[in-house]
Protein backbone atom coordinates (compact mmCIF):
# COMPACT_ATOMS: atom_id res chain seq x y z
CA UNK A 1 0.00 0.00 0.00
CA UNK A 2 1.21 3.49 -0.69
CA UNK A 3 -1.41 6.18 -1.07
CA UNK A 4 0.06 9.60 -0.41
CA UNK A 5 -2.04 12.71 0.04
CA UNK A 6 -0.69 16.23 0.41
CA UNK A 7 -3.10 18.75 1.92
CA UNK A 8 -2.11 22.43 1.76
CA UNK A 9 1.54 21.44 2.08
CA UNK A 10 3.78 24.51 2.11
CA UNK A 11 7.45 25.16 2.63
CA UNK A 12 9.33 28.35 3.21
CA UNK A 13 12.93 29.01 4.13
CA UNK A 14 12.79 32.17 6.20
CA UNK A 15 10.91 34.71 4.11
CA UNK A 16 11.30 32.76 0.89
CA UNK A 17 8.23 30.72 0.02
CA UNK A 18 9.63 27.81 -1.94
CA UNK A 19 6.34 25.99 -2.08
CA UNK A 20 3.08 27.85 -1.61
CA UNK A 21 0.29 25.64 -0.20
CA UNK A 22 -0.44 22.82 -2.64
CA UNK A 23 -2.69 19.78 -2.78
CA UNK A 24 -1.91 16.50 -4.45
CA UNK A 25 -3.17 12.93 -4.34
CA UNK A 26 -1.00 10.01 -5.31
CA UNK A 27 -2.83 6.72 -5.66
CA UNK A 28 -1.48 3.39 -4.51
CA UNK A 29 0.73 1.78 -7.15
CA UNK A 30 0.93 4.89 -9.31
CA UNK A 31 4.12 6.03 -11.04
CA UNK A 32 4.11 9.77 -10.52
CA UNK A 33 6.74 12.06 -12.01
CA UNK A 34 7.44 15.55 -10.69
CA UNK A 35 8.88 17.54 -13.54
CA UNK A 36 9.89 21.14 -13.94
CA UNK A 37 12.86 23.40 -14.60
CA UNK A 38 15.63 23.51 -12.01
CA UNK A 39 14.70 25.45 -8.91
CA UNK A 40 10.98 24.77 -9.33
CA UNK A 41 10.77 23.05 -5.96
CA UNK A 42 10.32 19.49 -7.19
CA UNK A 43 13.17 18.09 -5.12
CA UNK A 44 12.03 20.06 -2.09
CA UNK A 45 8.56 18.59 -2.48
CA UNK A 46 10.05 15.09 -2.59
CA UNK A 47 12.15 15.80 0.50
CA UNK A 48 9.03 17.02 2.31
CA UNK A 49 7.30 13.74 1.50
CA UNK A 50 10.42 11.83 2.60
CA UNK A 51 10.57 13.72 5.87
CA UNK A 52 14.06 15.05 5.23
CA UNK A 53 12.62 18.56 5.41
CA UNK A 54 9.90 19.73 7.76
CA UNK A 55 6.79 21.26 6.22
CA UNK A 56 6.00 24.87 7.09
CA UNK A 57 2.30 24.11 6.90
CA UNK A 58 -0.20 21.49 5.80
CA UNK A 59 -0.54 17.76 6.26
CA UNK A 60 1.10 14.76 4.60
CA UNK A 61 -0.89 11.56 4.80
CA UNK A 62 0.52 8.16 3.95
CA UNK A 63 -2.10 5.41 3.71
CA UNK A 64 -4.59 7.54 5.58
CA UNK A 65 -2.23 8.14 8.48
CA UNK A 66 -0.92 11.60 9.32
CA UNK A 67 2.82 11.38 8.65
CA UNK A 68 3.60 15.09 8.90
CA UNK A 69 5.58 14.85 12.11
CA UNK A 70 7.03 11.37 11.55
CA UNK A 71 10.80 10.92 11.18
CA UNK A 72 11.87 9.69 7.72
CA UNK A 73 12.43 6.10 8.78
CA UNK A 74 8.92 5.73 10.20
CA UNK A 75 7.23 6.73 6.94
CA UNK A 76 8.01 3.40 5.23
CA UNK A 77 9.39 5.24 2.20
CA UNK A 78 12.63 4.38 0.43
CA UNK A 79 14.64 6.96 -1.42
CA UNK A 80 17.13 6.73 -4.27
CA UNK A 81 19.40 9.76 -4.51
CA UNK A 82 20.93 11.43 -7.55
CA UNK A 83 24.40 10.88 -6.07
CA UNK A 84 23.46 7.26 -5.21
CA UNK A 85 24.48 8.03 -1.61
CA UNK A 86 25.95 4.57 -1.07
CA UNK A 87 27.98 3.93 2.06
CA UNK A 88 31.51 3.87 0.62
CA UNK A 89 33.01 1.88 3.49
CA UNK A 90 30.57 -1.00 3.17
CA UNK A 91 30.36 -3.79 0.61
CA UNK A 92 27.37 -3.94 -1.71
CA UNK A 93 25.89 -6.65 0.51
CA UNK A 94 26.24 -4.50 3.62
CA UNK A 95 24.87 -1.47 1.81
CA UNK A 96 21.75 -3.37 0.85
CA UNK A 97 21.52 -4.94 4.31
CA UNK A 98 21.82 -1.63 6.14
CA UNK A 99 18.12 -0.72 6.30
CA UNK A 100 17.29 -4.29 7.32
CA UNK A 101 19.92 -4.22 10.04
CA UNK A 102 18.53 -0.92 11.30
CA UNK A 103 15.07 -2.49 11.40
CA UNK A 104 16.50 -5.33 13.50
CA UNK A 105 15.50 -8.01 11.02
CA UNK A 106 16.86 -11.51 11.64
CA UNK A 107 19.91 -12.60 9.65
CA UNK A 108 18.23 -15.37 7.64
CA UNK A 109 15.47 -13.09 6.38
CA UNK A 110 18.07 -10.40 5.62
CA UNK A 111 20.09 -12.86 3.53
CA UNK A 112 16.99 -14.03 1.67
CA UNK A 113 15.94 -10.50 0.75
CA UNK A 114 19.44 -9.50 -0.29
CA UNK A 115 19.74 -12.57 -2.55
CA UNK A 116 16.38 -11.72 -4.12
CA UNK A 117 17.21 -8.10 -4.71
CA UNK A 118 20.63 -8.98 -6.10
CA UNK A 119 19.05 -11.43 -8.53
CA UNK A 120 16.45 -8.93 -9.70
CA UNK A 121 19.08 -6.23 -10.21
CA UNK A 122 21.88 -8.43 -11.61
CA UNK A 123 24.14 -7.67 -8.68
CA UNK A 124 24.82 -11.22 -7.46
CA UNK A 125 28.43 -11.16 -8.68
CA UNK A 126 29.16 -7.84 -7.07
CA UNK A 127 27.84 -8.38 -3.56
CA UNK A 128 31.29 -8.42 -1.98
CA UNK A 129 32.63 -5.37 -3.79
CA UNK A 130 32.69 -1.84 -2.49
CA UNK A 131 30.79 0.94 -4.26
CA UNK A 132 34.09 2.46 -5.42
CA UNK A 133 34.73 -0.62 -7.55
CA UNK A 134 31.45 -0.36 -9.44
CA UNK A 135 30.38 1.58 -12.52
CA UNK A 136 27.77 4.33 -12.34
CA UNK A 137 24.97 2.08 -13.53
CA UNK A 138 25.87 -0.64 -11.04
CA UNK A 139 25.99 1.88 -8.21
CA UNK A 140 22.56 3.10 -9.14
CA UNK A 141 21.31 -0.48 -9.07
CA UNK A 142 22.78 -0.94 -5.59
CA UNK A 143 20.95 2.18 -4.48
CA UNK A 144 17.73 0.74 -5.90
CA UNK A 145 18.50 -2.61 -4.23
CA UNK A 146 18.87 -0.87 -0.90
CA UNK A 147 15.43 0.62 -1.49
CA UNK A 148 13.58 -2.51 -2.60
CA UNK A 149 14.72 -4.84 0.20
CA UNK A 150 12.75 -2.73 2.63
CA UNK A 151 9.53 -3.43 0.74
CA UNK A 152 8.48 0.18 1.29
CA UNK A 153 5.06 1.74 0.86
CA UNK A 154 6.52 3.95 -1.86
CA UNK A 155 9.78 4.64 -3.63
CA UNK A 156 11.10 8.16 -3.98
CA UNK A 157 13.57 8.83 -6.78
CA UNK A 158 15.46 12.12 -6.82
CA UNK A 159 16.81 12.59 -10.36
CA UNK A 160 18.34 9.10 -10.19
CA UNK A 161 19.61 9.02 -13.77
CA UNK A 162 21.19 12.47 -14.05
CA UNK A 163 24.69 11.21 -13.33
CA UNK A 164 24.61 8.46 -15.95
CA UNK A 165 25.66 8.76 -19.58
CA UNK A 166 22.97 8.93 -22.23
CA UNK A 167 23.01 5.26 -23.30
CA UNK A 168 22.96 3.96 -19.74
CA UNK A 169 20.18 6.37 -18.86
CA UNK A 170 17.84 4.85 -21.44
CA UNK A 171 18.63 1.35 -20.15
CA UNK A 172 18.08 2.26 -16.50
CA UNK A 173 14.87 4.05 -17.43
CA UNK A 174 13.51 0.81 -18.80
CA UNK A 175 14.73 -1.12 -15.77
CA UNK A 176 12.97 1.22 -13.37
CA UNK A 177 9.77 1.04 -15.44
CA UNK A 178 9.96 -2.75 -15.43
CA UNK A 179 10.57 -2.76 -11.71
CA UNK A 180 7.43 -0.71 -11.27
CA UNK A 181 5.42 -3.13 -13.40
CA UNK A 182 6.68 -6.04 -11.30
CA UNK A 183 6.43 -4.53 -7.81
CA UNK A 184 3.29 -2.47 -8.42
CA UNK A 185 4.46 -0.14 -5.65
CA UNK A 186 3.90 3.59 -5.66
CA UNK A 187 6.83 5.45 -7.15
CA UNK A 188 7.47 9.17 -7.06
CA UNK A 189 10.14 10.24 -9.47
CA UNK A 190 11.71 13.67 -9.75
CA UNK A 191 13.34 14.77 -12.99
CA UNK A 192 13.95 17.85 -15.06
CA UNK A 193 13.97 15.70 -18.19
CA UNK A 194 10.56 15.73 -19.82
CA UNK A 195 11.44 12.66 -21.92
CA UNK A 196 11.87 10.64 -18.73
CA UNK A 197 8.60 12.05 -17.47
CA UNK A 198 6.71 11.21 -20.66
CA UNK A 199 8.10 7.68 -20.98
CA UNK A 200 7.80 6.52 -17.39
CA UNK A 201 4.89 8.25 -15.75
CA UNK A 202 1.31 7.20 -15.15
CA UNK A 203 0.79 10.72 -13.94
CA UNK A 204 2.93 13.79 -14.44
CA UNK A 205 2.97 16.74 -12.06
CA UNK A 206 4.39 19.82 -13.78
CA UNK A 207 5.82 22.32 -11.32
CA UNK A 208 6.98 25.88 -11.68
CA UNK A 209 8.13 28.13 -8.85
CA UNK A 210 6.70 25.67 -6.33
CA UNK A 211 3.25 25.76 -7.91
CA UNK A 212 1.58 22.82 -9.60
CA UNK A 213 0.89 23.96 -13.16
CA UNK A 214 -0.89 20.80 -14.24
CA UNK A 215 -1.42 17.19 -13.21
CA UNK A 216 -2.30 14.55 -15.77
CA UNK A 217 -1.29 11.57 -17.83
CA UNK A 218 1.56 12.16 -20.28
CA UNK A 219 -0.77 12.29 -23.27
CA UNK A 220 -3.25 14.62 -21.53
CA UNK A 221 -0.40 17.02 -20.93
CA UNK A 222 0.76 16.67 -24.52
CA UNK A 223 -2.64 17.12 -26.12
CA UNK A 224 -4.29 19.58 -23.75
CA UNK A 225 -1.70 21.62 -21.87
CA UNK A 226 -3.44 23.90 -19.41
CA UNK A 227 -1.19 26.88 -20.10
CA UNK A 228 1.75 28.14 -22.11
CA UNK A 229 4.28 26.95 -19.57
CA UNK A 230 3.13 23.32 -19.70
CA UNK A 231 2.77 23.56 -23.47
CA UNK A 232 6.37 24.68 -23.78
CA UNK A 233 7.74 22.25 -21.22
CA UNK A 234 6.15 19.02 -22.39
CA UNK A 235 7.15 17.73 -25.81
CA UNK A 236 10.48 17.65 -27.57
CA UNK A 237 11.48 19.73 -29.44
CA UNK A 238 9.50 22.51 -27.76
CA UNK A 239 6.17 23.75 -29.02
CA UNK A 240 6.39 26.88 -31.21
CA UNK A 241 4.50 29.82 -29.81
CA UNK A 242 3.29 32.58 -32.16
CA UNK A 243 1.76 35.90 -31.18
CA UNK A 244 0.33 38.68 -33.29
CA UNK A 245 -1.61 38.53 -36.52
CA UNK A 246 -1.46 34.75 -36.99
CA UNK A 247 -2.72 34.23 -33.42
CA UNK A 248 -5.49 36.80 -33.67
CA UNK A 249 -6.65 35.26 -36.93
CA UNK A 250 -7.21 32.02 -35.00
CA UNK A 251 -8.92 33.66 -32.03
CA UNK A 252 -6.18 33.71 -29.40
CA UNK A 253 -3.63 36.06 -27.90
CA UNK A 254 -1.03 33.43 -28.69
CA UNK A 255 -1.09 30.13 -30.51
CA UNK A 256 1.09 27.08 -30.09
CA UNK A 257 1.93 24.50 -32.68
CA UNK A 258 4.19 21.51 -32.13
CA UNK A 259 7.08 20.93 -34.59
CA UNK A 260 5.56 17.60 -35.62
CA UNK A 261 2.26 19.29 -36.56
CA UNK A 262 3.74 21.50 -39.25
CA UNK A 263 4.21 20.09 -42.74
CA UNK A 264 7.20 21.49 -44.63
CA UNK A 265 7.30 21.79 -48.38
CA UNK A 266 9.68 23.24 -50.94
CA UNK A 267 6.87 24.63 -53.09
CA UNK A 268 3.62 25.63 -51.36
CA UNK A 269 2.23 26.29 -47.91
CA UNK A 270 0.52 28.73 -45.52
CA UNK A 271 3.71 30.33 -44.17
CA UNK A 272 6.93 31.10 -45.94
CA UNK A 273 10.39 31.15 -44.43
CA UNK A 274 14.08 30.41 -44.90
CA UNK A 275 15.88 27.37 -43.45
CA UNK A 276 18.38 28.46 -40.81
CA UNK A 277 19.71 25.18 -39.50
CA UNK A 278 18.67 21.77 -40.75
CA UNK A 279 19.34 18.67 -38.66
CA UNK A 280 19.25 15.42 -40.60
CA UNK A 281 18.87 12.42 -38.30
CA UNK A 282 17.85 9.93 -40.95
CA UNK A 283 14.62 8.96 -39.23
CA UNK A 284 13.61 12.60 -38.90
CA UNK A 285 14.66 15.97 -40.18
CA UNK A 286 14.42 19.09 -38.05
CA UNK A 287 14.34 22.55 -39.58
CA UNK A 288 14.83 25.79 -37.72
CA UNK A 289 13.05 28.24 -39.95
CA UNK A 290 13.43 32.01 -39.94
CA UNK A 291 10.26 33.89 -40.73
CA UNK A 292 9.71 37.59 -41.28
CA UNK A 293 8.72 39.42 -38.11
CA UNK A 294 9.83 36.62 -35.74
CA UNK A 295 13.00 36.73 -33.74
CA UNK A 296 13.05 33.07 -32.72
CA UNK A 297 13.20 30.46 -35.44
CA UNK A 298 10.25 28.14 -35.85
CA UNK A 299 11.06 24.47 -35.30
CA UNK A 300 9.62 22.00 -37.76
CA UNK A 301 9.87 18.24 -37.72
CA UNK A 302 9.54 16.14 -40.86
CA UNK A 303 9.48 12.35 -40.88
CA UNK A 304 12.28 10.74 -42.88
CA UNK A 305 14.80 12.62 -44.95
CA UNK A 306 13.82 15.94 -46.52
CA UNK A 307 16.49 17.56 -48.68
CA UNK A 308 16.28 21.19 -47.74
CA UNK A 309 19.34 22.97 -46.41
CA UNK A 310 20.57 26.25 -44.97
CA UNK A 311 19.33 29.21 -47.01
CA UNK A 312 16.66 27.32 -48.92
CA UNK A 313 13.14 28.75 -49.08
CA UNK A 314 10.64 26.62 -47.18
CA UNK A 315 6.84 26.62 -47.04
CA UNK A 316 5.04 25.53 -43.90
CA UNK A 317 1.48 24.31 -43.40
CA UNK A 318 0.29 23.92 -39.79
CA UNK A 319 -2.31 21.27 -38.98
CA UNK A 320 -5.13 23.65 -37.95
CA UNK A 321 -6.76 20.94 -35.80
CA UNK A 322 -3.64 20.67 -33.65
CA UNK A 323 -3.18 24.36 -32.93
CA UNK A 324 -3.38 25.35 -29.23
CA UNK A 325 -4.80 28.76 -28.42
CA UNK A 326 -3.91 30.78 -25.31
CA UNK A 327 -5.36 33.95 -23.83
CA UNK A 328 -3.59 37.01 -22.41
CA UNK A 329 -2.77 35.21 -19.15
CA UNK A 330 -1.28 32.29 -21.03
CA UNK A 331 -4.20 30.01 -20.18
CA UNK A 332 -5.58 27.56 -22.72
CA UNK A 333 -8.70 28.57 -24.65
CA UNK A 334 -10.85 25.45 -25.01
Amino acid sequence: MGRIVLKDVAKSFGDVHVIPPLNLEIEDGEFVVFVGPSGCGKSTLLRLIAGLEDVSGGVIEIDGEDATGMPPAKRRLAMVFQSYALYPHMTVRKNIAFPLKMAGMDKAEQARRIENAAKVLNLTDYLDRRPGQLSGGQRQRVAIGRAIVREPAAFLFDEPLSNLDAALRVGMRLEISELHERLETTMIYVTHDQVEAMTMADKIVVLQAGRIEQVGSPLELYHTPRNRFVAGFIGSPKMNILEGAEAEKRGGHAIGIRPEHIAPSATTGTWKGVVGVSEHLGSDTFFHVHMDGRREPLTVRAGGEVSLHHGDAIFLTPDEEKIHRFDHEGLRIA
Binding site: L52, A73, A78, M79, F81, A85, Y87, P88, M102
Partner: protein, 276 residues
Protein backbone atom coordinates in the same frame (compact mmCIF):
# COMPACT_ATOMS: atom_id res chain seq x y z
CA UNK B 1 53.53 19.93 -20.44
CA UNK B 2 55.54 19.42 -17.31
CA UNK B 3 57.98 22.18 -16.56
CA UNK B 4 61.49 21.28 -17.63
CA UNK B 5 63.98 21.18 -14.75
CA UNK B 6 67.69 21.18 -15.45
CA UNK B 7 70.04 18.92 -13.51
CA UNK B 8 71.84 21.94 -12.12
CA UNK B 9 68.67 23.31 -10.69
CA UNK B 10 67.83 19.94 -9.15
CA UNK B 11 71.23 19.78 -7.45
CA UNK B 12 70.90 23.28 -6.07
CA UNK B 13 67.38 22.67 -4.77
CA UNK B 14 68.38 19.35 -3.23
CA UNK B 15 71.35 20.84 -1.43
CA UNK B 16 69.27 23.77 -0.29
CA UNK B 17 66.51 21.45 0.96
CA UNK B 18 68.93 19.31 2.92
CA UNK B 19 70.63 22.36 4.40
CA UNK B 20 67.32 23.69 5.73
CA UNK B 21 66.33 20.26 7.04
CA UNK B 22 69.64 19.82 8.87
CA UNK B 23 69.45 23.33 10.27
CA UNK B 24 66.02 22.62 11.72
CA UNK B 25 66.97 19.17 12.94
CA UNK B 26 70.34 20.24 14.37
CA UNK B 27 69.20 21.11 17.93
CA UNK B 28 67.57 17.69 18.25
CA UNK B 29 70.68 15.99 16.83
CA UNK B 30 72.88 17.96 19.23
CA UNK B 31 70.69 16.94 22.18
CA UNK B 32 70.94 13.29 21.17
CA UNK B 33 74.76 13.52 20.74
CA UNK B 34 75.17 15.34 24.05
CA UNK B 35 73.23 12.62 25.83
CA UNK B 36 76.05 10.20 24.97
CA UNK B 37 78.78 12.50 26.35
CA UNK B 38 80.14 12.86 29.86
CA UNK B 39 79.16 16.01 31.73
CA UNK B 40 82.68 17.43 31.18
CA UNK B 41 82.58 16.86 27.44
CA UNK B 42 79.07 18.24 27.27
CA UNK B 43 80.25 21.70 28.35
CA UNK B 44 83.72 21.51 26.71
CA UNK B 45 84.72 24.39 24.49
CA UNK B 46 85.22 23.99 21.61
CA UNK B 47 82.58 21.23 21.59
CA UNK B 48 83.39 17.89 20.00
CA UNK B 49 80.99 16.73 17.35
CA UNK B 50 81.35 12.98 16.86
CA UNK B 51 84.77 12.24 18.33
CA UNK B 52 84.29 11.75 22.04
CA UNK B 53 84.00 8.88 24.51
CA UNK B 54 80.52 7.56 23.82
CA UNK B 55 78.84 6.52 27.05
CA UNK B 56 75.43 5.28 28.19
CA UNK B 57 76.14 6.41 31.73
CA UNK B 58 73.71 9.34 31.58
CA UNK B 59 70.84 7.08 30.68
CA UNK B 60 71.39 4.76 33.61
CA UNK B 61 71.85 7.69 35.98
CA UNK B 62 68.66 9.27 34.78
CA UNK B 63 66.75 6.03 35.18
CA UNK B 64 68.19 5.54 38.69
CA UNK B 65 67.42 9.07 39.80
CA UNK B 66 63.87 9.23 38.52
CA UNK B 67 61.63 6.48 37.27
CA UNK B 68 61.41 7.01 33.51
CA UNK B 69 58.69 4.44 33.04
CA UNK B 70 56.35 6.06 35.53
CA UNK B 71 56.57 9.34 33.63
CA UNK B 72 56.35 7.54 30.32
CA UNK B 73 53.14 5.83 31.40
CA UNK B 74 51.79 9.16 32.63
CA UNK B 75 52.52 10.73 29.26
CA UNK B 76 50.80 7.86 27.47
CA UNK B 77 47.75 8.05 29.73
CA UNK B 78 47.48 11.83 29.52
CA UNK B 79 47.89 12.10 25.78
CA UNK B 80 45.69 9.13 24.88
CA UNK B 81 43.15 9.89 27.61
CA UNK B 82 42.75 13.52 26.63
CA UNK B 83 42.60 12.62 22.95
CA UNK B 84 39.93 9.95 23.33
CA UNK B 85 37.87 12.13 25.65
CA UNK B 86 38.32 15.04 23.24
CA UNK B 87 37.16 12.95 20.27
CA UNK B 88 34.10 11.74 22.16
CA UNK B 89 33.07 15.34 22.74
CA UNK B 90 34.26 16.70 19.38
CA UNK B 91 32.64 14.16 17.03
CA UNK B 92 29.05 15.07 17.95
CA UNK B 93 29.99 18.76 18.14
CA UNK B 94 31.61 18.74 14.70
CA UNK B 95 28.70 16.70 13.33
CA UNK B 96 26.18 19.28 14.40
CA UNK B 97 28.22 22.19 13.10
CA UNK B 98 28.95 20.53 9.77
CA UNK B 99 25.52 19.10 9.01
CA UNK B 100 22.99 21.21 10.88
CA UNK B 101 24.69 24.58 11.01
CA UNK B 102 22.83 27.38 12.73
CA UNK B 103 23.11 31.09 12.09
CA UNK B 104 25.92 31.49 14.61
CA UNK B 105 27.90 28.33 13.87
CA UNK B 106 30.72 30.26 12.22
CA UNK B 107 30.90 32.56 15.23
CA UNK B 108 31.02 29.63 17.62
CA UNK B 109 33.89 28.14 15.65
CA UNK B 110 35.78 31.41 15.71
CA UNK B 111 35.08 31.85 19.39
CA UNK B 112 36.44 28.39 20.12
CA UNK B 113 39.58 29.15 18.19
CA UNK B 114 39.95 32.48 19.97
CA UNK B 115 40.28 30.66 23.29
CA UNK B 116 43.57 29.33 21.96
CA UNK B 117 44.80 32.93 21.72
CA UNK B 118 44.40 33.52 25.42
CA UNK B 119 47.74 33.20 27.25
CA UNK B 120 47.27 30.14 29.49
CA UNK B 121 49.08 31.83 32.33
CA UNK B 122 46.15 34.24 32.51
CA UNK B 123 43.91 31.51 33.88
CA UNK B 124 46.55 29.55 35.76
CA UNK B 125 45.74 30.89 39.20
CA UNK B 126 41.97 30.29 39.11
CA UNK B 127 42.44 26.83 37.64
CA UNK B 128 45.15 26.02 40.16
CA UNK B 129 42.87 27.05 43.01
CA UNK B 130 39.92 25.11 41.65
CA UNK B 131 42.10 22.02 41.23
CA UNK B 132 43.48 22.40 44.72
CA UNK B 133 40.02 22.72 46.26
CA UNK B 134 38.49 19.75 44.50
CA UNK B 135 41.58 17.62 44.90
CA UNK B 136 42.61 17.32 41.28
CA UNK B 137 46.15 18.67 41.70
CA UNK B 138 48.78 16.18 40.62
CA UNK B 139 46.20 13.66 39.43
CA UNK B 140 46.03 12.07 36.00
CA UNK B 141 42.30 12.73 35.83
CA UNK B 142 42.80 16.43 36.42
CA UNK B 143 45.42 16.71 33.71
CA UNK B 144 43.37 14.67 31.26
CA UNK B 145 40.54 17.17 31.75
CA UNK B 146 42.80 20.20 31.28
CA UNK B 147 44.55 18.79 28.22
CA UNK B 148 41.21 17.82 26.69
CA UNK B 149 39.88 21.32 27.19
CA UNK B 150 42.89 23.13 25.77
CA UNK B 151 43.03 20.96 22.65
CA UNK B 152 39.29 20.66 22.08
CA UNK B 153 39.04 23.70 19.75
CA UNK B 154 41.67 22.21 17.46
CA UNK B 155 40.06 18.77 17.48
CA UNK B 156 36.66 20.22 16.68
CA UNK B 157 38.06 22.40 13.90
CA UNK B 158 39.89 19.53 12.27
CA UNK B 159 36.90 17.18 12.45
CA UNK B 160 34.58 19.92 11.25
CA UNK B 161 36.75 20.41 8.16
CA UNK B 162 36.64 16.67 7.48
CA UNK B 163 32.95 16.21 8.09
CA UNK B 164 32.11 19.07 5.75
CA UNK B 165 33.65 17.06 2.92
CA UNK B 166 31.29 14.14 3.53
CA UNK B 167 28.23 14.41 1.27
CA UNK B 168 25.08 15.09 3.29
CA UNK B 169 23.15 12.78 0.95
CA UNK B 170 24.80 9.76 2.53
CA UNK B 171 23.68 10.75 6.00
CA UNK B 172 20.20 11.45 4.68
CA UNK B 173 20.18 8.03 3.03
CA UNK B 174 21.04 6.53 6.43
CA UNK B 175 18.19 8.47 7.99
CA UNK B 176 15.79 7.15 5.32
CA UNK B 177 17.15 3.66 6.00
CA UNK B 178 16.01 3.91 9.60
CA UNK B 179 19.24 4.92 11.31
CA UNK B 180 18.85 6.87 14.52
CA UNK B 181 21.19 9.79 15.14
CA UNK B 182 23.43 7.45 17.13
CA UNK B 183 23.45 4.82 14.36
CA UNK B 184 24.14 7.54 11.82
CA UNK B 185 27.22 8.75 13.71
CA UNK B 186 28.52 5.31 14.67
CA UNK B 187 27.80 3.28 11.51
CA UNK B 188 28.07 5.86 8.75
CA UNK B 189 29.81 9.09 9.68
CA UNK B 190 32.64 7.79 11.85
CA UNK B 191 33.78 4.97 9.54
CA UNK B 192 33.74 7.38 6.60
CA UNK B 193 35.78 9.92 8.53
CA UNK B 194 38.37 7.42 9.75
CA UNK B 195 41.29 9.05 7.91
CA UNK B 196 40.32 12.42 9.35
CA UNK B 197 39.78 11.08 12.83
CA UNK B 198 43.11 9.24 12.66
CA UNK B 199 45.10 12.33 11.79
CA UNK B 200 43.23 14.38 14.37
CA UNK B 201 44.06 11.71 16.91
CA UNK B 202 47.73 11.67 15.94
CA UNK B 203 48.13 15.42 16.01
CA UNK B 204 46.37 15.66 19.33
CA UNK B 205 48.47 12.90 20.88
CA UNK B 206 51.58 14.83 19.82
CA UNK B 207 50.23 18.15 21.13
CA UNK B 208 49.25 16.59 24.45
CA UNK B 209 52.55 14.71 24.72
CA UNK B 210 54.51 17.92 24.26
CA UNK B 211 52.29 20.14 26.40
CA UNK B 212 54.48 21.59 29.14
CA UNK B 213 52.76 24.56 30.70
CA UNK B 214 49.87 22.85 32.44
CA UNK B 215 51.66 19.60 33.09
CA UNK B 216 54.47 21.44 34.86
CA UNK B 217 52.21 23.68 36.89
CA UNK B 218 49.57 21.21 37.98
CA UNK B 219 51.71 18.18 38.82
CA UNK B 220 54.32 17.27 41.35
CA UNK B 221 55.31 13.63 41.25
CA UNK B 222 52.40 11.24 40.83
CA UNK B 223 50.89 12.48 37.60
CA UNK B 224 53.99 14.11 36.14
CA UNK B 225 54.53 13.19 32.49
CA UNK B 226 57.80 13.26 30.57
CA UNK B 227 57.79 17.03 30.17
CA UNK B 228 58.02 17.39 33.95
CA UNK B 229 60.64 14.66 33.97
CA UNK B 230 62.86 16.71 31.60
CA UNK B 231 62.26 19.89 33.51
CA UNK B 232 63.39 18.27 36.73
CA UNK B 233 66.92 18.20 35.28
CA UNK B 234 67.25 21.95 35.28
CA UNK B 235 67.16 21.68 39.04
CA UNK B 236 68.46 23.51 42.08
CA UNK B 237 71.51 21.23 42.07
CA UNK B 238 72.67 22.88 38.89
CA UNK B 239 72.35 22.25 35.18
CA UNK B 240 73.59 18.86 34.03
CA UNK B 241 73.66 19.15 30.26
CA UNK B 242 74.43 15.53 29.49
CA UNK B 243 71.77 14.16 31.82
CA UNK B 244 69.25 16.74 30.69
CA UNK B 245 69.96 15.67 27.12
CA UNK B 246 69.57 12.02 28.00
CA UNK B 247 66.25 12.74 29.68
CA UNK B 248 65.10 14.81 26.71
CA UNK B 249 66.09 12.12 24.25
CA UNK B 250 64.17 9.54 26.25
CA UNK B 251 61.17 11.84 26.37
CA UNK B 252 61.03 12.77 22.70
CA UNK B 253 61.98 9.36 21.29
CA UNK B 254 58.48 7.80 21.49
CA UNK B 255 56.75 10.75 19.86
CA UNK B 256 59.50 11.11 17.26
CA UNK B 257 59.04 7.46 16.29
CA UNK B 258 55.25 7.84 16.22
CA UNK B 259 55.57 10.96 14.11
CA UNK B 260 57.98 9.29 11.71
CA UNK B 261 55.66 6.37 11.02
CA UNK B 262 52.56 8.49 10.71
CA UNK B 263 53.94 11.39 8.71
CA UNK B 264 51.91 10.52 5.62
CA UNK B 265 48.71 10.48 7.62
CA UNK B 266 49.64 13.72 9.37
CA UNK B 267 50.44 15.63 6.21
CA UNK B 268 47.23 14.42 4.62
CA UNK B 269 45.30 15.41 7.71
CA UNK B 270 46.72 18.89 7.90
CA UNK B 271 46.29 19.68 4.22
CA UNK B 272 42.86 18.09 3.88
CA UNK B 273 40.41 20.14 1.93
CA UNK B 274 43.14 22.44 0.67
CA UNK B 275 43.23 20.72 -2.70
CA UNK B 276 40.27 18.77 -3.89
Amino acid sequence: MARAVTTNRKVVSTVFGWAIAILIFFPILWTILTSFKTEAEAIASPPSFLVFDWTLENYSTVQERSDYFLHFMNSVILSLGSTVLGLLIAIPAAWSMAFVPAKRTKDVLMWMLSTKMLPPVGVLVPIYLIFRDIGLLDTRLGLVIVLTLINLPIIIWMLFTYFREIPGDILEAARMDGASLRDEIIHVLTPMAVPGIASTLLLNVILAWNEAFWTLNLTAANAAPLTAFIASYSSPEGLFYAKLSAASTMAIAPILILGWFSQKQLVRGLTFGAVK
